[in-house]
Amino acid sequence: MNERVPVLAVDNLNVEFRTRSGVVKALENVSFHVNRGEMIGIVGESGSGKSVSALTAMGILDEAGRVTQGSINLGGLDVLNAPERDLQEMRGREVSMIFQSPRTALNPIRTVGKQIGDVLRRHGSANRQNVRAEAIKALMSVRIPDPERRHDAYPFELSGGMCQRIMIAMALSCRPELLIADEPTTGLDVTTQAAIMDLIKELAKERNMATVLITHDLGMAADYCDRIVVMHAGHVIEQAATAELFASPRHPYTAKLMKATPHGEGSLDDIESIAGGLPDLRAELPPCRFSARCERYEAACDMPALIADEVSPGHLVTCRRPL
């Protein structure tokens, strides 16, 4: 099913933010790719650079941010050097994004149907005559009951799960090649979360679409993704196929993250916290940004030029002393 065509390829990306208190090295040597029909998960603590990676890939990085190195190829388009006009064409049609807290991402004073219609008219084939019918079709595709009536509802009239369905309808209305879902179920109930994730997975499969799921929930990534990219303090520290990553995590951070996540079995003694916090990204940083929190640290870890090692096909680890 997975043709080996990367829809999105991020290569050696460095991103900095200039702030009053110094330059924040938000991303360093970040590389990952997503193939057609594949779902990858980007996992990490808050502040690890998950969202910045996604925003940069969309070309919607904040103005304070600056790409200092690397390349991003999205469906053949060089995102970092393309003119804004091409990027605008690309967004919506080739890549779409759904954000967390759908209720705030939607315009509160326009009906949801009209908001979907906007996307369809800008990027899709709809015109003034058929836009309503097309929007209703989009609502139907995300299994919203009674789409005719919901078309004219305002976001506040709908539940959180329903609003996220609207966001998905909007994102997928132009049949993009790639969907980036940034914490799509934060703030939703577990039952709604499961329904939303099932829907994303199902639609992705139906359309052979590539999906990037950004989440801090390792369990969710394990449940839905084919491959997982683990980030820590702006570095990609490990990436592998889901089953392999869970069977044999090689980076100490990945292993610790798994131990820290309650997973339904065992007792509280079986879960362990990770000592320390993320390092201050404004400071001079060692090559391995996890070294200060790592139990396997030794002097060799401070040698420069830490690169990702392919320990087995498709399993990359950025560590000098992998497990």
């Binding site: 390792l218 339904g264 509280l268 916290s273």
Partner: protein
């Protein structure tokens, strides 16, 4: 084990006066004379007949989706809002009769404390950690002596592993985990008997979550408190709680020992909740999935199961009769037509 908190058919109803006829008798009379409109004011049944108890030293988990009445229930138990009907008895005394407005003067105020959701939002931004922790000591314990207060605050800070140097900091100078500690310290400073924890870890990263959970377990053993642990993270509830109650639309649908609820859930809603937990181990398994949204809590049909319509095993009888409470084992019951004693 002695019962610490006993709740009996507790109800909280909100009268939606905006929609129905006014409460003014004259308006009502005129309306009745002029129109044939039924004299009915819609009532929102936020909590509808909830009974349970918490034993001394026990931790009880409360789970359910948003809108099921968890927070309303917590508000009533913490005596921040008043009940409509029912009884809340704490250590033998009916505290439900005391209006929430004057409850702060009662001795039970120190005995029931609450750790609010989201440590980032629930701390006063103008209070240092010291001020936050000292506030309940000043107000509830009446401690005014500066030296004594300092000693007590420092002792509590040590209990929750909060370094002394952080006591002079403001919330914006603290990390999420540190803020959670301040919040817990504030609640345990007055040595409560019952601590209500409203989603204490949902705003924290997994890397800190484990430390906070372990801290909570240690505090409970050290101070001999009982916990009411409200959460939608079932994995966390399973780790921390002895017993669990599951709420759906204002009512308890299942109650029992935690391990039993998780391994042998009897109510279809509990089954759906558990199978919705994302989990590496369960990937690819067949799951119970719910469709649609919960029914409206406004004027629910008393002669129907509130879960009917979303329930995967719903039948005709579910819409005609309220489900009975069926004991599965001695201390495990489910409110469902299909529950079977084991």
């Amino acid at each position: 084990m002695s019962v610490l908190l006993e709740v009996e058919s507790l109800k909280k109803h909100y009268v939606l006066s905006g929609q129905g006829p006014s409460d003014n008798p004259l308006v009502r009379w005129v309306r009745q004379r002029l129109t044939s409109a039924e004299d009915h004011t819609p009532v929102l049944h936020a909590v509808d007949g909830v009974s349970f108890e918490i034993n001394a030293g026990e931790s009880l988990g409360l789970v359910g989706e948003s809108g099921c009445g968890k927070s309303t229930l917590v508000g009533m138990l913490a005596r921040l809002s008043d009940k409509s009907e029912g009884r809340i008895s704490f250590a033998g005394r009916d505290i439900g009769e005391v209006p929430s407005k004057v409850f702060h003067a009662e001795p039970e105020r120190t005995d029931i404390q609450i750790v609010f959701q989201d440590p980032h939002e629930s701390l006063n931004p103008r209070f240092t950690s010291f001020d936050t922790i000292a506030e309940p000591l000043k107000r509830l314990k009446g401690i005014t002596d500066k030296a004594e207060l300092t000693k007590m605050v420092e002792a509590v800070a040590e209990q929750v592993d909060l370094p002394k140097m952080l006591l002079s900091r403001f919330p914006h100078q603290l990390s999420g985990g540190q803020k959670a500690r301040v919040n817990i310290a504030r609640a345990v400073a007055v040595e409560p008997k019952l601590l209500i924890l409203d989603e204490p870890t949902s705003a924290l990263d997994v890397s800190v979550q484990a430390v906070i959970l372990k801290l909570l377990v240690r505090l409970k053993n050290d101070l001999g408190m009982s916990y009411l642990f409200v959460s939608h993270d079932l994995n966390v509830v399973r780790l921390l709680c002895d017993r669990v109650i599951v709420m759906y639309l204002g009512q308890i649908v299942e109650s029992g020992p935690a391990e039993e609820i998780f391994t042998r859930p009897a109510h279809p809603y509990t089954k759906a909740l558990i199978s919705a937990i994302p989990n590496a181990a369960s990937a690819g398994n067949e799951r119970v999935r719910l469709t649609g949204d919960p029914k409206s809590p406004i004027d629910p049909d008393p002669n129907a199961c509130r879960f009917h319509g979303r329930c995967p095993m719903g039948e005709d009888k579910c819409s005609r009769a309220a489900p009975p409470q069926i004991s599965v084992t001695a201390d495990h019951y489910a409110v469902c037509h299909f529950a079977q004693p084991s």
